[in-house]
Amino acid sequence: MTTAPPSLSLDGVDHLAFVTWDPRATYEFYTQVLGMPLVHAITATGWVTEDYPDFVHFFFDMGRGNRIAFFYYFGLAEEEPPGDLMHRSRHLAFHVDTEEELAAWRVRLKAHGVRVTTPLAHELIESIYFDDPNGIQLEITRPIREMSGIDARDAELTLRSLIDVAESPRPTAQALWQRKAELIRKNAEVQGS
Protein backbone atom coordinates (compact mmCIF):
# COMPACT_ATOMS: atom_id res chain seq x y z
CA MET A 1 0.00 0.00 0.00
CA THR A 2 1.35 3.41 -0.88
CA THR A 3 0.52 6.53 1.03
CA ALA A 4 0.42 10.00 -0.38
CA PRO A 5 3.46 12.06 0.60
CA PRO A 6 2.64 14.69 3.18
CA SER A 7 2.45 18.18 1.77
CA LEU A 8 5.46 20.18 2.83
CA SER A 9 5.49 23.80 3.84
CA LEU A 10 7.90 25.81 5.93
CA ASP A 11 6.54 27.61 8.96
CA GLY A 12 8.21 31.00 9.11
CA VAL A 13 11.64 31.96 10.38
CA ASP A 14 13.29 30.03 13.23
CA HIS A 15 16.36 32.23 13.28
CA LEU A 16 18.57 34.45 11.18
CA ALA A 17 22.28 34.42 12.01
CA PHE A 18 24.87 37.18 11.74
CA VAL A 19 28.40 37.76 13.05
CA THR A 20 29.36 40.36 15.64
CA TRP A 21 32.71 41.66 16.84
CA ASP A 22 31.04 43.80 19.53
CA PRO A 23 28.99 41.65 21.91
CA ARG A 24 28.42 44.44 24.45
CA ALA A 25 26.92 46.84 21.92
CA THR A 26 24.95 44.02 20.29
CA TYR A 27 23.52 42.82 23.60
CA GLU A 28 22.58 46.36 24.72
CA PHE A 29 21.06 47.31 21.35
CA TYR A 30 18.88 44.25 20.91
CA THR A 31 17.69 44.00 24.53
CA GLN A 32 17.40 47.68 25.48
CA VAL A 33 16.74 49.56 22.25
CA LEU A 34 14.72 46.92 20.37
CA GLY A 35 13.37 45.25 23.53
CA MET A 36 14.14 41.69 22.43
CA PRO A 37 14.78 39.21 25.26
CA LEU A 38 17.98 37.19 25.16
CA VAL A 39 16.65 33.62 25.01
CA HIS A 40 19.59 31.30 24.34
CA ALA A 41 23.39 31.26 24.19
CA ILE A 42 25.83 28.45 23.57
CA THR A 43 29.61 28.50 23.86
CA ALA A 44 31.81 25.91 22.17
CA THR A 45 35.19 25.11 20.82
CA GLY A 46 35.42 25.27 17.07
CA TRP A 47 34.35 21.77 16.05
CA VAL A 48 32.66 22.39 12.69
CA THR A 49 35.81 22.35 10.56
CA GLU A 50 39.50 22.12 11.40
CA ASP A 51 40.03 25.89 11.28
CA TYR A 52 36.68 26.85 12.85
CA PRO A 53 37.26 29.30 15.73
CA ASP A 54 35.89 28.88 19.23
CA PHE A 55 32.60 30.72 19.42
CA VAL A 56 29.57 32.00 21.29
CA HIS A 57 26.21 31.79 19.52
CA PHE A 58 23.45 33.84 21.14
CA PHE A 59 19.82 34.39 20.28
CA PHE A 60 17.27 37.19 20.79
CA ASP A 61 13.51 36.76 20.41
CA MET A 62 12.22 38.98 17.57
CA GLY A 63 8.57 38.16 18.30
CA ARG A 64 6.23 35.43 17.00
CA GLY A 65 8.86 32.89 18.05
CA ASN A 66 11.32 34.17 15.43
CA ARG A 67 14.87 34.73 16.63
CA ILE A 68 17.88 36.73 15.53
CA ALA A 69 21.20 35.13 16.39
CA PHE A 70 24.81 36.28 16.46
CA PHE A 71 28.11 34.47 16.41
CA TYR A 72 31.06 35.88 18.29
CA TYR A 73 34.27 34.16 17.14
CA PHE A 74 37.32 34.29 19.40
CA GLY A 75 40.40 35.62 17.66
CA LEU A 76 38.71 36.36 14.34
CA ALA A 77 39.95 39.50 12.56
CA GLU A 78 37.16 41.98 11.85
CA GLU A 79 35.87 42.01 8.28
CA GLU A 80 35.71 45.09 6.08
CA PRO A 81 32.16 46.51 5.93
CA PRO A 82 30.29 45.96 2.65
CA GLY A 83 29.89 48.73 0.08
CA ASP A 84 26.92 51.07 0.33
CA LEU A 85 24.67 49.24 -2.15
CA MET A 86 25.16 45.83 -0.52
CA HIS A 87 24.75 47.40 2.92
CA ARG A 88 21.35 48.79 1.88
CA SER A 89 20.30 45.67 0.00
CA ARG A 90 21.03 43.02 2.63
CA HIS A 91 18.75 44.11 5.39
CA LEU A 92 16.26 42.79 7.89
CA ALA A 93 12.78 44.34 8.21
CA PHE A 94 10.61 44.02 11.28
CA HIS A 95 6.85 44.30 11.03
CA VAL A 96 4.50 46.61 12.92
CA ASP A 97 0.80 47.00 12.18
CA THR A 98 0.16 50.74 12.25
CA GLU A 99 1.49 54.16 11.27
CA GLU A 100 1.33 55.16 14.96
CA GLU A 101 3.56 52.26 15.99
CA LEU A 102 6.04 53.13 13.24
CA ALA A 103 6.18 56.73 14.49
CA ALA A 104 6.57 55.57 18.10
CA TRP A 105 9.49 53.30 17.16
CA ARG A 106 11.17 56.22 15.40
CA VAL A 107 10.85 58.31 18.58
CA ARG A 108 12.21 55.45 20.69
CA LEU A 109 15.20 54.87 18.41
CA LYS A 110 16.06 58.58 18.39
CA ALA A 111 15.75 58.69 22.19
CA HIS A 112 18.44 55.98 22.32
CA GLY A 113 20.68 58.00 20.02
CA VAL A 114 20.12 55.77 16.98
CA ARG A 115 20.30 57.53 13.61
CA VAL A 116 17.02 56.71 11.87
CA THR A 117 15.52 57.88 8.58
CA THR A 118 12.22 59.67 8.16
CA PRO A 119 9.40 57.30 7.16
CA LEU A 120 9.62 56.34 3.48
CA ALA A 121 6.43 55.24 1.72
CA HIS A 122 6.98 52.54 -0.88
CA GLU A 123 4.13 50.98 -2.88
CA LEU A 124 2.61 48.68 -0.24
CA ILE A 125 4.65 49.50 2.84
CA GLU A 126 6.05 52.47 4.75
CA SER A 127 9.42 52.06 6.46
CA ILE A 128 12.09 53.59 8.66
CA TYR A 129 15.73 52.49 8.35
CA PHE A 130 18.61 52.36 10.82
CA ASP A 131 21.75 50.32 11.54
CA ASP A 132 22.48 47.96 14.37
CA PRO A 133 25.91 48.28 16.08
CA ASN A 134 27.34 45.74 13.61
CA GLY A 135 26.44 47.85 10.59
CA ILE A 136 23.54 45.57 9.64
CA GLN A 137 20.77 47.62 8.10
CA LEU A 138 17.48 47.19 9.90
CA GLU A 139 14.05 48.39 8.87
CA ILE A 140 10.74 48.67 10.65
CA THR A 141 7.82 48.61 8.26
CA ARG A 142 4.04 48.81 8.35
CA PRO A 143 1.58 47.84 5.62
CA ILE A 144 -0.13 50.62 3.64
CA ARG A 145 -2.49 47.96 2.30
CA GLU A 146 -2.47 44.18 2.54
CA MET A 147 -1.06 42.17 -0.35
CA SER A 148 -3.67 40.23 -2.30
CA GLY A 149 -4.02 37.87 -5.28
CA ILE A 150 -3.57 40.62 -7.86
CA ASP A 151 -0.14 41.42 -6.40
CA ALA A 152 0.94 37.77 -6.61
CA ARG A 153 -0.26 37.44 -10.24
CA ASP A 154 1.60 40.63 -11.15
CA ALA A 155 4.73 39.34 -9.40
CA GLU A 156 4.58 36.11 -11.44
CA LEU A 157 4.55 38.11 -14.68
CA THR A 158 7.40 40.32 -13.46
CA LEU A 159 9.54 37.32 -12.56
CA ARG A 160 8.78 35.54 -15.84
CA SER A 161 9.88 38.73 -17.63
CA LEU A 162 12.95 39.12 -15.45
CA ILE A 163 14.08 35.53 -15.98
CA ASP A 164 13.69 35.92 -19.77
CA VAL A 165 15.57 39.23 -19.81
CA ALA A 166 18.23 38.30 -17.25
CA GLU A 167 19.35 35.48 -19.53
CA SER A 168 19.80 37.89 -22.46
CA PRO A 169 23.20 39.45 -23.21
CA ARG A 170 22.36 42.87 -21.79
CA PRO A 171 19.49 42.88 -19.31
CA THR A 172 17.79 46.24 -18.75
CA ALA A 173 14.73 47.44 -16.88
CA GLN A 174 13.28 48.68 -20.17
CA ALA A 175 13.64 45.24 -21.76
CA LEU A 176 11.87 43.70 -18.75
CA TRP A 177 8.99 46.19 -19.00
CA GLN A 178 8.67 45.56 -22.74
CA ARG A 179 8.66 41.77 -22.20
CA LYS A 180 6.06 42.13 -19.46
CA ALA A 181 3.77 44.14 -21.74
CA GLU A 182 4.02 41.31 -24.30
CA LEU A 183 3.07 38.74 -21.66
CA ILE A 184 0.10 40.82 -20.49
CA ARG A 185 -1.18 41.11 -24.06
CA LYS A 186 -0.67 37.38 -24.67
CA ASN A 187 -2.61 36.57 -21.50
CA ALA A 188 -5.41 38.88 -22.60
CA GLU A 189 -5.56 37.18 -26.03
CA VAL A 190 -5.73 33.71 -24.44
CA GLN A 191 -8.46 34.79 -22.05
CA GLY A 192 -10.36 36.61 -24.80
CA SER A 193 -10.23 33.67 -27.27
Partner: protein
Protein backbone atom coordinates in the same frame (compact mmCIF):
# COMPACT_ATOMS: atom_id res chain seq x y z
CA UNK B 1 2.00 51.97 -34.25
CA UNK B 2 0.81 51.93 -30.68
CA UNK B 3 2.37 53.21 -27.55
CA UNK B 4 1.00 51.64 -24.39
CA UNK B 5 1.74 51.25 -20.74
CA UNK B 6 0.16 48.82 -18.32
CA UNK B 7 -0.73 49.88 -14.79
CA UNK B 8 -1.70 47.31 -12.18
CA UNK B 9 -5.29 48.08 -11.18
CA UNK B 10 -4.62 48.70 -7.46
CA UNK B 11 -5.14 51.89 -5.44
CA UNK B 12 -1.56 53.11 -5.24
CA UNK B 13 -1.04 53.07 -9.00
CA UNK B 14 -4.23 54.98 -9.92
CA UNK B 15 -2.34 58.33 -9.95
CA UNK B 16 -0.07 56.94 -12.70
CA UNK B 17 -3.12 55.96 -14.77
CA UNK B 18 -4.59 59.43 -14.24
CA UNK B 19 -1.35 61.10 -15.36
CA UNK B 20 -1.36 58.98 -18.51
CA UNK B 21 -4.96 59.94 -19.23
CA UNK B 22 -4.10 63.60 -18.63
CA UNK B 23 -1.36 63.15 -21.24
CA UNK B 24 -4.02 62.04 -23.74
CA UNK B 25 -3.71 58.26 -23.42
CA UNK B 26 -6.79 56.06 -23.72
CA UNK B 27 -7.66 53.84 -20.78
CA UNK B 28 -9.18 50.36 -20.92
CA UNK B 29 -9.04 47.36 -18.58
CA UNK B 30 -6.89 44.40 -19.69
CA UNK B 31 -6.96 41.58 -17.12
CA UNK B 32 -5.48 42.81 -13.86
CA UNK B 33 -4.16 45.95 -15.56
CA UNK B 34 -5.27 49.25 -16.96
CA UNK B 35 -3.92 49.68 -20.47
CA UNK B 36 -3.08 53.30 -21.29
CA UNK B 37 -2.48 53.61 -25.01
CA UNK B 38 -1.88 56.30 -27.59
CA UNK B 39 -1.64 56.47 -31.37
CA UNK B 40 0.68 59.46 -31.02
CA UNK B 41 4.37 58.83 -31.73
CA UNK B 42 5.31 60.05 -28.27
CA UNK B 43 3.79 60.80 -24.87
CA UNK B 44 5.22 62.86 -22.02
CA UNK B 45 4.04 62.31 -18.44
CA UNK B 46 4.82 65.01 -15.88
CA UNK B 47 5.03 63.92 -12.27
CA UNK B 48 2.61 65.67 -9.94
CA UNK B 49 3.23 66.56 -6.31
CA UNK B 50 0.89 63.83 -5.08
CA UNK B 51 2.95 61.03 -6.63
CA UNK B 52 5.51 59.89 -4.11
CA UNK B 53 9.07 59.23 -5.19
CA UNK B 54 9.12 55.44 -4.85
CA UNK B 55 5.86 55.13 -6.80
CA UNK B 56 6.98 57.44 -9.62
CA UNK B 57 10.15 55.46 -10.19
CA UNK B 58 8.04 52.28 -10.32
CA UNK B 59 5.56 53.80 -12.77
CA UNK B 60 6.48 51.33 -15.53
CA UNK B 61 6.49 48.21 -13.35
CA UNK B 62 3.32 47.01 -15.08
CA UNK B 63 5.02 46.96 -18.47
CA UNK B 64 5.48 49.22 -21.47
CA UNK B 65 4.92 48.79 -25.18
CA UNK B 66 7.30 51.37 -26.58
CA UNK B 67 10.62 52.85 -25.66
CA UNK B 68 11.76 55.14 -22.87
CA UNK B 69 13.26 58.31 -24.34
CA UNK B 70 13.89 59.68 -20.86
CA UNK B 71 12.80 58.94 -17.30
CA UNK B 72 13.78 61.64 -14.82
CA UNK B 73 12.47 62.43 -11.32
CA UNK B 74 9.99 64.83 -13.00
CA UNK B 75 9.28 63.58 -16.53
CA UNK B 76 8.62 60.27 -18.27
CA UNK B 77 8.98 60.52 -22.04
CA UNK B 78 7.83 57.48 -24.01
CA UNK B 79 8.06 56.98 -27.77
CA UNK B 80 6.26 54.42 -29.89
CA UNK B 81 7.81 51.52 -31.70
CA UNK B 82 8.82 50.94 -34.40
CA UNK B 83 11.07 53.91 -34.91
CA UNK B 84 14.62 54.39 -36.20
CA UNK B 85 16.11 53.86 -32.76
CA UNK B 86 14.21 50.59 -32.44
CA UNK B 87 15.94 49.32 -35.58
CA UNK B 88 19.18 50.56 -34.13
CA UNK B 89 18.50 48.77 -30.88
CA UNK B 90 17.74 45.51 -32.69
CA UNK B 91 20.98 45.81 -34.62
CA UNK B 92 22.86 46.42 -31.38
CA UNK B 93 21.39 43.33 -29.83
CA UNK B 94 22.53 41.06 -32.63
Amino acid sequence: MTLALYVLDVPEFQPVARLAQDAGMTRRPVGDYLELSSDEPEVVLHREDGIRTALWHAALTGGVDGRIASFTPEVLHLVGEPDPTALHRTAEEQ
